[in-house]
């Protein structure tokens, strides 16, 4: 590989988080002038697979690495550090013309539950099947594909298990598909990361979530203090061997943490709390 290839920081992450690392890149361009960065997009699961196969140096993820993936990495001799880089939440969105403003977790569950077992076509076909008395009509569902960390997060929140979901909906790795579908169809409902909701506020309406304690709107404060029911951290996994080989990567991560607020704001993510920043700094320095 050519000299500057060795400096290449290869990232792999999910669509949701993509904006995030790119903002990072933009701002970091001056410090890491020598590095060529290529970013690939895939579901979190696919990203971890590539990470553990040594095809990438950093993996962005919207969920923590799971047990199976950790085992695979260990088998391949890949050691890594996990760092929380931002806070995020999941937004549930509907068409702007839909009169609904708040939805209960139980209603979400009824909408997205598989008919029997933990996967398969769902039962609800009309809005009234999940929300009695609702007159919106036919239910059109949009969501994340099964390889996506967002999929895991959503299902964990709604069903309690990351892989339980109905299967007959518009699944996509590309949240733009959801944004467009929900914006176009009155009976549509979908979910994706909060940053997308902020960016597309004109096209989709984010609902407040009621987890038994009243309707909570998704905001920076409610995500940071956890009152918003579907808040989740965003991680990066940094390969220890890659850092050892190229100090550029450590600089990269450090640079990020020093400028966490600006970058998160730019990318429309919820920034880390001071406590989180310190923990992360500690983790980076320890590499």
């Amino acid at each position: 590989m050519a000299e500057d290839q060795q400096e290449a920081v290869r990232l792999r992450q999910e669509q949701d988080v993509f904006r995030h690392s790119h903002g990072w890149l933009e701002h970091g361009a001056t410090t890491s002038g020598k590095a060529t960065v290529s970013i690939g997009i895939s579901g979190t699961g696919g990203g971890f697979e590539k990470f553990c196969k040594n095809e990438t140096d950093i993996s962005n993820a919207s969920r923590a690495i799971n047990a199976t993936e950790a085992v695979n990495c260990a088998k391949a001799g890949v050691t890594y550090t996990e760092i929380i880089v931002a806070n995020d939440g999941l937004a549930v969105v509907v068409n702007p013309k839909n009169s609904l403003t708040c939805i209960k977790m139980t209603e979400l569950k009824a909408m997205w539950a598989p008919g029997t077992g933990t996967s398969g076509p769902g039962k609800a076909t009309q809005w009234s099947d999940a929300i009695p008395g609702n007159t919106t009509g036919a239910l059109k569902l949009y969501g994340a594909g099964s390889d996506s960390g967002t999929f895991d997060s959503f299902n964990t929140f709604v069903h309690g298990r990351s892989t339980t979901s109905r299967t007959d909906y518009q699944a996509t790795e590309n949240d733009n598909v959801t944004v467009k579908g929900v914006a176009a169809e009155l009976g549509a409902i979908g979910y994706y990361g909060l940053s997308y909701a902020e960016e597309n506020a004109k096209l989709n309406k984010a609902l407040q979530i009621d987890n038994g304690k009243g309707c909570v709107a998704p905001k920076i404060s409610t995500v940071q203090d956890g009152t918003y029911a579907m808040a989740r951290p965003l991680y990066i996994y940094v390969k220890k061997a890659a850092v050892a080989k190229s100090p550029v990567i450590r600089e990269f991560v450090k640079f990020y943490l020093d400028n966490a607020d600006i970058i998160a704001a730019d990318a429309l993510f919820v920034p880390l709390t001071k406590v989180q920043v310190n923990t992360a700094r500690g983790a980076v320095n320890a590499i």
Binding site: R19, G23, L25, G40, I41, N176
Partner: protein, 298 residues
Amino acid sequence: MTVHMVSDPTTLASTVSGGRKSRDVIFLIGLWVAMLLCTATLLTLLVDTFVTGRSKLTWAFLSGHPDPFPEDAGIQSAILGSLWVVIPSGLGALFVAICTAIYLEEYTRTDSRIQKFINLNIQTLAGVPSVVFGILGLAFVARGPLSWGFTVGTAAMVLGMMILPVMIVAAREAIRAVPSSLREGSMALGATKWQTIRRQVVPAAVPGIATGSILGVSRALGESAPLIMLGALAYVTFNPSGFGDYYTVIPLMIFKYATEAQTEFQVSAAAAIIVLLVMMFALNFLAIVIRDRSRKAW
């Protein structure tokens, strides 16, 4: 072909009864509708795209790199990526196509078993859906025995395989069109078979081969389905500098921008389409010029 009338159809047609005549008219209207369908669709497509994307056709767009913020989005890495992928694939396919065409036309008998066998393979390949070539690339080139990963080299190889049938057909027709008097004269003057082929037949067939290969390259330029499978990275903010580099190509950039939700990206997609169509149009125009320029009288 137009049929040249022995007798003017209108004189006989004037004796046609009213019922038949009205059916004639209806039929003609149907044909015009079909024709207008083609023309109208093409016009709508071109005009709609042009109008949507025109504002983005700036030097900044052509020289900038992709960006998640639409205002800054550019396609330089895609343009260069396309060139890096398409030119090698075209050259590689051209070489194989010329050799195959020479072999089939000069070294095998027509309707011999070997010729029929190779023909069958070429026809099968021509009918394979482009996405299946993506599968082939995934299994054998990106991973598997070659394991070149998702790089420029992989894309070039897969596209080369895809356009090979088209190139072979074009090369064969070009060689077939060379009159046998040329060959016979050459042999009569003492040249060997290969000398004849190399110095007489192939040079005479060059314009036809050039036209065919330009069209093949033009096709490779617009391909998207196989490269979707070969993980052309989402945002590649650098131009390739070797066959082992990650890459993206213009059709995939269009695909990416087309799926974006914000309308500003639709503008970028439309602008990228204009760039792609201009490139393809230029190539096709070149092919037509070569073809017309070299209509030699034998």
